[in-house]
């Protein structure tokens, strides 16, 4: 539907609308707002979105004026912040956390002329698009690294909430690890918070005490990487390159790149070709990738990861393809079948080998 509308509308409207957009831009910059769930800091989920915002500034210069509100709690407060950005003349607003979904939908309905984009959610409208990355693809690759490097075969995983996006990552790491070490297991600790360095640190320490010698996290701080560095166990980061927090032990990180997407969407909004829709970008799109590798990683492992990266990018390797069994050993996806996107998006079960409860 949205693709159809985009291609039908885009062609005739693009040129004149762009001309109008340019003229308007000369007088008045196009305002774009961002809502962040945690402080920007210098690594993590919000930091990557901030990199995207700065890319918009760099690419479009004086034609745009971007602003952001950071550390906005999910819940009642976020609606006011989104509304404030809308009233302040922002014509395109990115809300970058799942918990902003219903507030974003409400404000989008109240301001039908403005455009909204919500990260990681599933509610859309004529002026409300959604976007997210297939984080599970690079996660699988970190699983291969973990499977090769871990001696105990136990991977410690610090996670925020048992929502599908997080569960996908945990399952993908396990599948990657088991592809090279069939005995690999994952121990999970949930912290019930996206950003709580103290809790993340405590969870990491507990996992190491339970025998984990490879750590990773689905939370927004660098605490787990710092813990791994101190304990001398391998780890992979999330959201951003976290090598500087773990120069000896940080293998690589699942890194998100919103810059191209944001620049494209802002350009489309200025040109009048923006249309609602859903983008779920994988490694092929460049929205998700692995960050630079630790220089101490052995060459054969790097070659193996590079080969698998190519297989994922080309579509030869599909992460969630059968046979997949759940924790009770029940076959959830038979051999020769791959999970549909809708099934992946609502994933609420762990694959066999994950220790922990959803």
């Amino acid at each position: 539907m949205s693709i159809l509308r985009r291609s039908l509308l885009a062609a005739p409207l693009a040129l004149p609308a762009f001309a109008i957009g340019r003229r308007a831009a000369a007088a008045d910059p196009f305002k774009v707002g961002f809502v962040y769930v945690s402080p920007i800091g210098d690594a993590g989920w919000t930091f990557q979105h901030e990199m995207g915002r700065r890319a918009v500034d760099a690419a479009l210069g004086a034609a745009v004026k971007t602003s952001y509100v950071e550390n906005v709690p999910e819940g009642a407060d976020s609606e006011r912040v989104i509304r404030r950005l809308a009233q302040d003349g922002n014509q395109l607003i990115f809300t970058t956390s799942f918990g902003y979904m219903n507030p974003t939908e409400k404000v989008a309905k109240a301001f039908p002329k403005l455009k909204f984009e919500h990260a990681t959610g599933y509610k859309r409208g004529p002026n409300l698009a959604t976007y997210s990355g297939r984080y599970y693809e690079p996660r699988y690759l970190t699983g291969i690294i973990a499977g090769r490097l871990s001696k105990s075969g136990i991977i410690g995983y610090v996670a925020a909430f048992p929502i599908p996006e997080v569960i996908q990552g945990i399952n993908a790491v396990l599948l990657g690890a088991r592809s090279v070490n069939p005995k690999a297991t994952i121990k999970v600790i949930f912290t019930s918070s996206w950003f709580d360095p103290g809790k993340e640190r405590a969870a990491a320490d507990t996992l190491v005490a339970q025998g984990a010698d490879y750590l990773t996290q689905h939370t927004d701080s660098t605490a787990v990487v710092q813990a791994a560095e101190e304990k001398g166990v391998w780890c992979s980061g999330y959201d951003s390159d976290m090598l500087k927090y773990g120069p000896k032990t940080h293998t690589t990180a699942v890194e998100m790149h919103w810059d191209n997407y944001y620049v494209d969407r802002v350009k489309q909004a200025i040109a009048g070709t923006w249309a609602s829709g859903d983008v779920w970008g994988g490694m092929a799109s460049g929205m998700v990738k692995l960050s630079r590798f630790n220089p101490s990683l052995p060459a054969p492992l790097l070659a193996e990861v590079a080969a698998k990266t190519e297989e994922i990018r080309s579509g030869k390797l599909v992460v969630f393809s059968g046979p997949l069994k759940d924790q009770a050993g029940v076959v959830k996806v038979p051999a020769g079948k791959a999970m549909m996107d809708a099934e992946i998006l609502s994933m609420n079960w762990f694959v066999e080998g994950v220790q922990g409860k959803v």
């Binding site: 509100v69 819940g75 009642a76 609606e79 006011r80 912040v81 950005l85 009233q87 599908p164």
Partner: protein
């Protein structure tokens, strides 16, 4: 020559009330210095912080909405502190209120059932009261201190809410994301100003102010509470029950916090989520003391606190200042308030050393 703090014979009542204003003024001056150091015109920035949110109808309605849970929780906390009962766990009682009221909404919400909303409010207050009754029992029967028990039960409540929205109450159509379905219209509070989010819950919070004042200063119950709090020996001599004061103040403050919780659920949120409050129950402790534990003072303090939240957002939107700036100003406000309070009960005297005189 040395400086020494000396107790004042009679603390000034006027200064007791002026010190929050003085603290706000000093924080504004300090904030202005910070803004200037960051390269912004201090007057523009202060105007954005303190005046911009008040300059539109929308800003005013949001101010009332934000102040509502702070006001309700802080009044409950203040009633307790007057009786020397320290309820630190309003956050948990608020959460239990949201759970109890939200449960009613999920179970009975439908089209045109007028009784759902009143029942939700009652359930919310009862949920908060029940959660605060546990520390009351633990205190009166086992002498467990309420500061610990109320605080720890907060975390239990938050975990309980997390379990409910991840498990039995999860929205079946929500892709397994941890939240309940949206409440039906008859389970939502009526909006006071068309197009805004300010709802009838604000009126309930306002109503609590004179009622709490009447209770504390015009009733025998209030007199007993204050006596137990200020002069336990005298209270015992007069036959006032300390146990009764603990129960009364904890259950009342729990009910008010629970009401705040269900008002959030049935108001701006419209569903249950893993976190229902960004720390209102804890911020309300500051509000209660900034308001001098007096209902009308708390009314002003809750609006000031709400204004700082809103102004902080406005600073980020309009001037692209980082959120840390607003944290700095909040910190200064509390620092100056506590600093000013030192000089209400005490004064600085210069002691001349005899040998050097």
């Amino acid at each position: 020559m040395r400086l020494r703090l000396e107790a004042r014979p009679a603390p000034s009542r006027a200064m007791l009330w002026l010190s929050p204003l003085l603290a706000a003024l000093l924080a504004a001056v300090g904030g202005g210095v910070v803004f200037a150091l960051l390269g912004h015109d201090p007057l523009v920035a202060l105007g954005t912080l303190f005046l911009a949110p008040l300059s539109t109808l929308d800003g005013l309605t949001e101010l009332g909405l934000k102040a509502t849970p702070l006001l309700l929780c802080a009044i409950g906390i203040a009633v307790g502190v007057r009786a020397n009962v320290w309820n630190i766990g309003a956050e948990g009682q608020l959460t239990m209120g949201a759970i109890a009221g939200g449960g009613i909404a999920l179970a009975f919400g439908g089209e045109g059932r007028w009784w759902v909303l009143p029942l939700m409010l009652l359930a919310g207050a009862a949920g908060g009261a029940a959660w605060a009754a546990m520390p009351a029992l633990l205190k009166t029967r086992f002498n467990a201190h309420e500061i610990l028990t109320t605080l720890m039960l907060s975390y239990v409540a938050i975990q309980l809410l997390g379990w409910l929205v991840h498990g039995p109450w999860i929205d079946p159509e929500g892709f397994n994301f941890p939240q309940t379905r949206m409440f039906d219209d008859d389970a939502l509070l009526p909006v006071l100003v068309e197009g805004s989010r300010l709802n009838a819950g604000f009126l309930l919070a306002l109503l609590a102010v004179p009622l709490a004042w009447l209770l504390l200063s015009r009733t025998v119950t209030g007199f007993r509470l204050r006596t137990v709090g200020q002069a336990p020996e005298a209270a015992r001599y007069a036959g006032f029950s300390a146990t009764g004061a603990v129960w009364f103040s904890l259950v009342l403050s729990g009910a008010l916090a629970g009401l705040a919780g269900v008002l959030e659920a049935a108001g701006p949120v419209g569903q249950l989520q893993p976190v229902m409050s960004p720390g209102y129950g804890f911020a309300a402790i500051i509000v209660a003391f900034m308001g001098r534990l007096h209902p009308f003072g708390i009314l002003g303090a809750s609006f000031l606190m709400a204004l700082l939240y809103l102004g902080g957002e406005q600073l980020q939107v309009s001037l692209q200042l980082p959120i840390a700036v607003i944290g700095t100003i909040q910190g200064m406000l509390l620092f100056f308030l506590l600093g000013a309070d030192v000089f209400i009960d005490q004064r600085l005297v210069v002691v001349r050393d005899a040998r050097h005189a």
